[in-house]
Amino acid sequence: MSTVAISEKRSALAPLGKPLAIAGGVLAVVAALLPWVTFSLNDGNWPDKSTLQFFDAPFLVTGFRWHMLLFGVFILVAALAPTPSRGRVLRALGWGTLAVSFINALYITIKGGGLGAITALDGEVAFGGVVGVVAGVLVILASYGIGIEPVADWKFKVSTPVAYLVLLVAFGGVLYAVAAMLTTGGVGASNPYAGAIFLSFLGFAGGVLAALSGVGLVRWISALSEEHRVFSVIVLAACALLLPFTDAGNEYWMTVAANIGIYAATAIGLNIVVGLAGLLDLGYVAFMGIGALVAANFSGAATAYFGFSLPFPVAAAIAAVVAGIFGAIVGSPTLRVRGDYLAIVTLAFGEIFTRSAQNDIGGFTNGSNAIPGIPALSLFGAEFNRSITIGPVKLPGGVLYYILIVLLVAATMAVFANLKFSRIGRAWIAIREDEDAARAMGIRTGKMKILAFLIGAMLAGLAGAVFAHKNGTVSYESFKFLESITLLAAVILGGMGSIPGAVLGASLLFVLPEKLRDFEEYRLMIFGLALILIMRFRPVGLIPDAHRRAEMAEKADENAEEAHVEARKA
């Protein structure tokens, strides 16, 4: 029925598609060149000289107005030049335009105390926001008029050097985008409008990325990177190691980035269990907690259980092994329990861990006092949390942790990628798709499922060991149900079974709270709402795994029902 509705909408809009898009593009450009605010707000002028009184150089646009100008130009290009899947591209650009305009206009209205701030007040007019919103809506309508075609599939092959070059440029772009994302709006509370600037930037980045994806570029590049997997991982790691040399290279962002990295590594581990083997784990963070506690107890901290300290690599290995053993234990009910019942077993295990750790079970956790004073890692006398100077270059504090964690993430990615394309990975995917069929094909499903839990838990344990040393304190508080859910959300938001997805998901979920201090109070509420909306509108995640995408798309009513019937007969 929905297809009928869309085709009707299209027929009404069809002849207007192109004119609407052109009008929208022009309006977006106009909006960029107009003032947006009629007066100076209490917290200071709205950024990028968009306040009427300070609107001295209309054509020297920066910040969000520059983004609007770019959107306008892109829209005009997409509307006039021959563009593959034009409707899809325009839809993305339209939503981007709308997001940027709406976010800025909304913030100005709230901070300015009324609609007067973005329209007319005391004879002054500043219609930038309104024009921008109209432009966005027009372009979205235009895109439906033109029609949403499937994403274009780029067939042409390129030689290896060209592919390398393309990948270099692409990952360079990613590095730039990450640095920009971290630094826009400044650190924490230093800029009163940091939240708005960041959200606006996110709207811009999202719109451009979706447009590039709509035109087929993203799919093409991801196919290229899959083809040249080793090269991609090296370049990606190199890009990540270059981050300290960008604007984001200060202690604050190194710390944040390192934390993100720890969770990203854990999320990749969870992705093995959930994304590849299809086993929902609701207590996964407990394995990270076990790893952290083991490492803390071997660290020589004052309240550690053991009175001696082991070298970090040894302690980390023990942490991974212990977490892995627990993983296998938790996974063993998978031999008999399936589906959401298994999810409950994992949840129960997570709760047992939290409760036991809270009560200082066996004297290993120090209960709610936590284990403080875990020494920072050091290498050749350089402590990882200090800044270091190599010749003329002074690197910010925490950079060594950052590098260590980049290596950790790269290693987990490599493990994940190798497993995914190995015999084991294929067995997992077979189990995920249809466990009975997998068993019929001779896959030893029980062993494979426990293996998934074991490997996932080991990766989490390893990440936990790094976490312990980096933060200096280990408390059960860091490993509660909500953290498990957040990790799961990172995997789902990014795209199940997809490696870049897990990293992107973890980044978004752990950067957003840093950036949106205005919404601190509402953080978790927005998080809950986001989970609901993602499942409703994009259950495959932001960067879907190719196999997974096909599977989710075809899981239509009927298949589910047929499966139902089959289960009933059995």
Binding site: M1, V4, A553, E554, A556, E558, N559
Partner: protein, 238 residues
């Protein structure tokens, strides 16, 4: 006067796979019409689409001249189409009586008990064991219950999907006798069968469906005589 049921250029797809492409047929009031064809020809899909469990990709389904292909399944029953699905699909953990009551779920009149007694009269074995769970009955008895349940809504059109599947020849004969009897009581019947011989012998009109299309149609007895039908279907079944 429009036919009771008219299917025009119906296509149905499961994801990318088209199970039915361009099927057309009509059922006149009072007739027994059968759709025959080999396994996977799209017969069951056609019935499931008529009763609203599936949505057509294109084409129209008219019941008493009114399009019904956008209506939900529960509303279509209320219009007077009853569907006894393939494999009987009784509610196994409910009693015979509860299954029949569910068949009359949409009825608000007080004739339900009388109609239930009529089913028990038609199939005495059901009456004797009306408080037993449906899952405990034999295949033939379950088929009787399925037909009885489908009758309980007092449909204008009764659609039966493979009523003879898995039954002994004697039981099959009994089921087909019942179908004939239902017709004489004024019910129009759309029958899907792999047992083409028995189905066509009973039918006023038959349609042969192959790979999702109607390939042949005609009165039941003339299709029975058609050499192409005999070669393609009748030889296989018996």
């Amino acid at each position: 006067m429009s036919p009771l049921l008219e299917v025009r250029n119906l296509s149905v797809a499961y994801g990318a796979i088209e199970a039915v492409r361009d099927i057309s047929f009509t059922v006149e009031a009072g007739q027994i019409v059968s759709l025959i064809g080999s396994n996977g020809a799209g017969k069951t899909t056609t019935l499931r689409t008529i009763s609203g469990l599936l949505r057509p990709a294109s084409g129209e389904i008219l019941f008493q001249g009114k399009p019904i292909h956008a209506e939900p399944a529960h509303a279509i029953l209320g219009m007077g189409i009853s569907h006894s699905p393939e494999g009987r699909r009784l509610f196994p953990r409910m009693t015979v009586e509860e299954n029949l009551q569910l068949g009359a779920y949409v009825r608000k009149d007080d004739g339900v008990q009388a109609d239930m007694d009529r089913v028990y009269e038609l199939f005495p074995v059901l009456g004797e064991r009306r408080h037993n769970k449906a899952g405990l009955f034999s295949g033939g008895e379950q088929q009787m219950l399925a037909i009885g349940r489908a009758m309980m809504s007092k449909p204008r059109l009764l659609m039966l999907d493979e009523p003879s599947m898995g039954l002994s020849p004697i039981m099959t004969q009994k089921i087909f006798d019942t179908i004939k009897e239902l017709q004489s009581l004024g019910t129009t019947i759309l029958l899907v069968e792999q047992n083409a011989l028995a189905a066509l012998a009973l039918s006023d009109h038959g349609y042969v469906i192959d790979l999702g299309r109607t390939t042949l149609d005609g009165p039941g007895h003339s299709l029975l005589a058609d050499q192409r039908v005999r070669d393609a279907y009748l030889g296989e079944v018996h």
